[in-house]
């Protein structure tokens, strides 16, 4: 006979848990962004590094202030989502942006994008894009002033007035160039797709190296942390729509591949649109969402006043997510098929 009964735990089933938890997922998202971050530093030198550090610090700090000191939970920064928000925000910013603006953007990303809605999981809009939209609204000039890309040789050179003090008018004109999309839109001048793929163009920190972003996305898909339907759907829609326009008027509308790899599309499609919190949970919904983003991106780029529309497209579709979720509930096992009642 077993002597004394050992100390046994009573609980209800299931007793086992998949070892993956939310912080693990966030950690892997960060890993997958490392190549993109390195590329940003390669092209934009120390400016990129500074902006990324400031954004992560800003998001982390804000999260800590609003969530971490609450009495109920112990330090929710540990879930890592604020760090991801910071990195992604940084990747959407131009390298020459004054750091104080970047910091402000990071703070607002957390406050407007998350805290106001009740924290992680309850927000409607992607926090990084919310922060970026805020900045764009406040400082339209600074946010659309793009430094030319460089290489490691110029690592230490700042790409703009990073260190300007708050509210002083920074000097922009010296080094600015146009992004491929702006060149296309305003001067009808296309850029080679290979340059777009490799990132040797001007643009925001993470807009440049499409290949590396795809690599990160591929890794996350492989680990099942990313819903591949969303980027695939966006790419397909953008490509089809752009090709259609291109067939109508090749002069005015660039071909599909240009659209795919220019601007923030790849970054947005792989890392922002797939933010699980703000995209639909149903598989059908993911396709609808992706198609919506794709259509809006091309429409804004071609018919709107702005050269780039990824940010607004995603934010707009974020707003539709609850609705999409509601109408795309899967049919349950043994439930009635659509149409029957």
């Amino acid at each position: 006979m077993s002597t004394e009964a050992p100390h046994l735990i009573l609980s209800t089933s299931p007793f086992l848990k998949r070892p993956v938890d939310t912080p693990t997922i966030m950690r892997h998202v960060i890993y997958s962004l490392i190549p993109v971050m390195l590329a940003a530093m390669f092209y934009f030198g120390v400016s990129a590094l500074l902006i990324m550090l400031v954004c992560v610090a800003g998001c982390g700090f804000t999260e800590w202030v609003f969530e971490g000191r609450g009495p109920l939970r112990d330090s929710p920064i540990k879930d890592g989502s604020a760090i991801v928000t910071g990195i992604l925000l940084a990747l959407t910013l131009p390298p020459g942006l004054p750091l104080w603006m970047a910091f402000l953007g990071a703070v607002m990303a957390i406050i407007l994008g998350k805290v106001l809605f009740g924290g992680l999981g309850h927000n409607v809009f992607n926090p990084s894009l919310t922060g970026r939209a805020f900045l764009q609204a406040c400082f339209p000039v600074a946010l659309t002033t793009w430094a030319p890309y460089g290489d490691l040789g110029r690592f230490l050179a700042l790409r703009g007035d990073n260190l300007s003090l708050p509210f002083l008018k920074p000097q922009f004109d010296a080094v600015s160039t146009a992004t491929p999309l702006a060149m296309m839109k305003f001067e009808s001048q296309p850029t080679e797709v290979t340059n777009l793929l490799l990132g040797s163009t001007s643009g925001s920190l993470g807009e440049t190296a499409a290949l590396l972003i795809l690599l990160g996305g591929g890794y996350l898909t492989y680990r099942k942390f990313l819903n591949w339907r969303i980027p695939v759907g966006i790419f397909a829609t953008v490509f089809l729509f752009a090709t259609l326009l291109n067939l109508i008027n090749a002069e005015k509308y660039p071909a599909g591949p240009f659209h795919l790899f220019s601007g923030g599309l790849v970054l947005g499609a792989v890392f922002m649109a797939t933010d699980p919190v703000t995209s639909p949970v149903t598989q059908k919904g993911a396709w609808v969402f992706a198609a919506g983003v794709g259509l809006l991106v091309v429409a804004i780029r071609q018919f709107g006043g702005l050269p780039e529309g990824v940010m607004y497209s995603i934010l707009l579709m974020n707003a539709f997510t609850p609705l999409i979720d509601r109408v795309t509930q899967p049919r349950i096992y043994g439930g009635r098929k659509k149409g029957e009642s």
Binding site: L8, P14, F15, Y333, G334
Partner: protein, 451 residues
């Protein structure tokens, strides 16, 4: 862990504890008294109505008590305790094959009920009730569930390898009873040896086919099995019989085979004892009523790191805190988990990652249901089909935010069921009152009208 090991019979225990309630339905009624000598296989408690089964002595010995004992459900419950006679050869009370060829369906059903059979997969629903085809229904296919109901368990796997003949005898009898066209045995592809051995031994005249199935929890759930094998879905809130199918677990069929071949009622069963918390995991044949502690001793005892002992599997089993509880008819496995396996983890907010939606076998939206349950909005959950949740636990298992989804759903379902029952009662009462009022009201109105 235990899949390659032959089924061993453990020595007869000193004492067996046979709870009167080992099945779903009414508890059985004792027909023996304290002090009586009983023989292995002898009836000791009879069924109490149709949804109930009798109980048989699982060892030869003397009844020492009929009293409340610890029951695996957590509540003490009435049980017959038999002290085993160590000198007895433990032969069967009435040994010998039962003849069945000339029996009609009702007689066969009665024989199965008299054998005390319940579903051995875990739910312990009386088998004869399941096999009884209601008036006006027809059964086209008989499905044999050879999918282990949960990860870790290997009971069914071993039974398919070692009781093949009994399984086919059982199938033959049940096919006759049901008047079904054909039998399918669904087996997961991680048991190729079982698939091969079954296929080799199918009698030529038996309309029976083995269907290999994907190894995926909860493949062993009835509704999943029907879909995987026959591509039919049982409509929400209905039973398999509504799609002309009857399902039974392979262990139960083997038991019925044994009943007709040797006259042995359900007095012993095969149990997987496994998990890192026990020294020698094995698959064992033991008398029903064997105390858990005795089984664990036979397996070398629990290890130092033991944290939880479960009856059943990791996804739907139940935790035990007293090692004196008996093995019951429905106990398919004993799982011993260690500390690091069961560490409670911190809950994070739902990040809407959709992992639970992908995992849910009945395609519910556990993410949304979870947040509704959390805020107590049970009524809204009803519209999202919470009552179709089969409590398989897959959602809780995959959730990266460690949200106790199924745990909350159980509470919600319980409350909703209660509420529905209450509403029904209230509605009936109201209808009655209205009738009465209509009578009285008529008089009142007349008076008012005349004023």
């Amino acid at each position: 862990m235990t899949r390659g090991r032959l089924i061993e019979r453990i020595p007869f225990p000193d004492e067996v504890i046979l709870p009167l309630s080992q099945h779903l339905g009414a508890p059985s009624k004792p027909v023996v008294a304290v002090g009586d000598t009983v023989h292995r296989g002898q009836l000791i408690a009879e069924a109490c109505g149709f949804v109930s089964v009798p109980l048989h002595a699982s060892v030869t010995g003397r009844v020492t008590a009929i009293e409340k004992r610890f029951h695996p459900s957590g509540r003490p419950s009435e049980a017959i305790v038999i002290a085993c006679d160590p000198t007895s050869p433990q032969t069967l009370y009435e040994e010998g094959p039962l003849q069945w060829e000339n029996l009609a369906t009702p007689e066969l059903l009665a024989t199965i009920q008299d054998g005390g059979f319940v579903g051995l997969g875990g739910a312990a629903f009386p088998t004869h009730v399941k096999l009884a085809v209601p008036e006006g229904k027809r059964v086209q296919f008989f499905l044999v569930n050879g999918c282990e109901c949960e990860p870790y368990l290997t009971t069914d796997h071993r039974i398919m390898l070692e009781y093949t003949e009994s399984i086919f005898l059982g199938i033959r009898i049940i096919l006759k009873m049901l008047g079904a066209e054909k039998t399918f045995i669904g087996v997961e592809t991680n048991k190729w040896d079982a698939i091969a051995s079954l296929r080799d031994q199918i009698p030529a005249d038996l309309p029976c086919e083995v269907i290999p199935l994907q190894t995926k929890y909860p493949q062993g759930a009835e509704k999943m099995l029907i879909k995987a094998v026959l591509h039919r879905e049982v409509p929400s809130g209905r039973l398999p019989i509504d799609v002309q199918v009857v399902v039974s677990n392979v262990g139960t069929i083997a038991g019925i085979g044994e009943l007709f071949a040797y006259g042995q009622p359900l007095i012993e069963r095969v149990v997987t004892v496994t998990g890192p918390g026990v020294h020698n995991p094995s698959t064992l044949l033991m008398p029903v009523g064997t105390p858990l502690s005795q089984v664990l001793d036979y397996c070398g005892g629990l290890t130092e790191e033991i944290a939880q002992v479960l009856f059943g599997g990791p996804m739907m089993g139940s935790a035990q805190y007293n090692l004196q509880v008996p093995i019951m008819k429905g106990t398919s496995g004993i799982l011993c988990l260690t500390e690091h396996q069961v560490l409670s983890r911190r809950e994070y907010p739902c990040i809407r990652c959709a992992a639970c939606l992908d995992a849910c076998p009945v395609f519910l939206n556990p993410s949304l249901l979870g947040s509704l349950a959390r805020s107590g909005r049970y009524d809204e959950m009803l519209g999202l089909h919470i009552l179709d949740c089969m409590e398989c636990g897959s959602c809780s298992y995959v959730c990266p935010s460690n949200i106790p989804l199924v745990q909350r759903f159980r509470v919600a379902k319980g409350l909703l069921r209660e509420q529905q029952a209450r509403e029904k009662v209230a509605k009936e009462r109201e209808a009655r009152e209205q009738q009465e009022r209509a009578k009285v009201g008529g008089d009142v109105q007349e008076k008012v009208g005349s004023k």
